[in-house]
Symmetry: C2
């Protein structure tokens, strides 16, 4: 691959650009972004080599689409219309069902690979790009059989070069499970932050009392609403299911407390403690 | 101070022991714990110099009570009964109203200082003790005026040596605000962990999909139920208030999603984003 185009030069696209450039000094990485400042910033930070437009996509060996998931569903068709027959087009969004459906019948369907690298931070924009972000992270690939074999190979080599392990999944299963292990955590963080901030209007001092535990649980409340609103919209049914279960569990905990059933409170916590073992594989 | 007794040689007490010993090589730190294994472990790890019993407390210059808050409320009276007239007794529990009430009328009330160092991790036991845990952390002191002036001075010097900044607060205000910035985060983490684990029973693979965001929001679900059950019990009214507000906010978010009001979803997140500025002071 010689010419790589990143559409959306933010945390995810920018970090991919940094890793790809580090791994292969001969590639040229172009950025496309509706935010001109981000493009200038990305050039200054050496995240991309130059800026480009959709007209240049005919020269692309690889296009990475790393924009909010609502925009991605619209842009992916335009991108496939423009690329050459040999180009690989990869998206990296947090939802997979709608994008896979959007290009189901596209004549260049076999040029597309749907992926979701489980990596990121709560920050955004080219400044947030990090070298090595994808090392030892999971990348979920959907409908791999619908991508041309030669392009599958190219994609898997790229992901492997960046240090990612691969999991294959259908788009519906991806969207259902990611609602539990990612989307719900964001809602919980945002609403926990809101609950405490609402209180703080009258009690300015209380944040002096906050420690690292609070910081950890509300960290994701720094995330970009521009990115997350379309995710919740696209994954509405699954997210509502997780949210309902979470609320029911909180209400049960509340009832146990209300009824002074602290043996039940103890059990609820004890039974959840083995999250330790589960988390050991993550951090 | 020469002879320091730590009752409860876990994460909090053990970390205090490590810091105190590092700062003053002449002190001797004794450990008292109903768990004999913890005492042996603490000696092996050099967290304490030797083990002791309540009978030795008459020799104490300083006693630190670092045990679960329900036990602390019982033990504090016994400890005050046993110490000399010049000894300083400090507790470090996450709730302050009940312990202050328990010794209100005690003849040695002036030997006691109620404190809550906002520091810790999700781990427990002497192995979890960390040198430097209290550096740059906040220590909340309650009813300082009820402690003998000379002993206040000793305590403040100790906390300052360990790198802590001090905030003064009455016990009721402490318990109310700490419910928001600490206790609620723990419930949220535990119930988020439970929600996802319940799902996992049928779907073993989903944790492969979990990233650092999930890990961060459920980190506190590793915490000790032995420590946290009594905290929720003692601070029941305040914790219920925070939990009700949190549940209401989650339900509102759910309703906005259900009604496809994604402008409201966006606003909810945008309005909470300034948690960034609040958190800057913490981590």
């Amino acid at each position: 691959m010689k010419n790589i185009y990143i559409i959306g030069v933010g945390l995810i696209g920018g970090s991919l650009a940094l890793d790809i450039k580090k791994h292969d000094h001969k590639v040229k990485v172009f950025g496309i972004d509706h935010n001109e400042n981000h493009l200038e910033e990305a050039i200054q930070l050496n995240v991309i080599d130059a800026k480009a437009t959709y007209e240049d996509l005919k020269n692309a060996d690889l296009v990475i689409l790393s924009i909010p998931v609502d925009a991605a569903v619209n842009e992916i068709r335009k991108v496939l219309d423009l690329v050459s027959d040999d180009a690989l087009v990869v998206d990296v969004g947090s939802t997979k069902a709608e994008i896979c459906k959007a290009i189901e019948e596209h004549p260049k369907r076999r040029n597309f690979l749907a992926s979701h690298p489980i990596a990121g931070t709560e920050f955004s924009g080219p400044k947030a790009a990090i070298l090595g972000l994808y090392q030892n992270k999971t990348n979920i690939i959907c409908e791999v059989e619908k991508t041309a074999f030669k392009l599958q190979e190219q994609a898997l080599k790229l992901f492997s070069d960046l240090g990612m392990r691969i999991r294959y999944m259908n788009p519906e299963a991806h969207d259902k499970h990611i609602a539990y292990v990612s989307h719900l955590s964001h809602i919980s963080s945002f609403m926990l932050g809101k609950t405490v901030i609402d209180k703080e209007r009258n009690e300015r001092d209380i944040f002096d009392m906050a420690g690292s535990g609070f910081a950890s649980t509300v960290r994701l409340a720094k995330s970009s609403p521009e990115m997350w609103t379309p995710i919740f919209k696209q994954n509405k049914a699954n997210v509502l299911e997780t949210l309902d279960e979470f609320i029911i569990n909180l209400q049960k905990f509340r009832e146990f407390m209300h009824e002074d059933d602290f043996e039940a409170i103890y059990s609820e916590m004890k039974n959840t403690n083995h999250i330790k073992d589960i988390l050991n594989g993550i951090q």
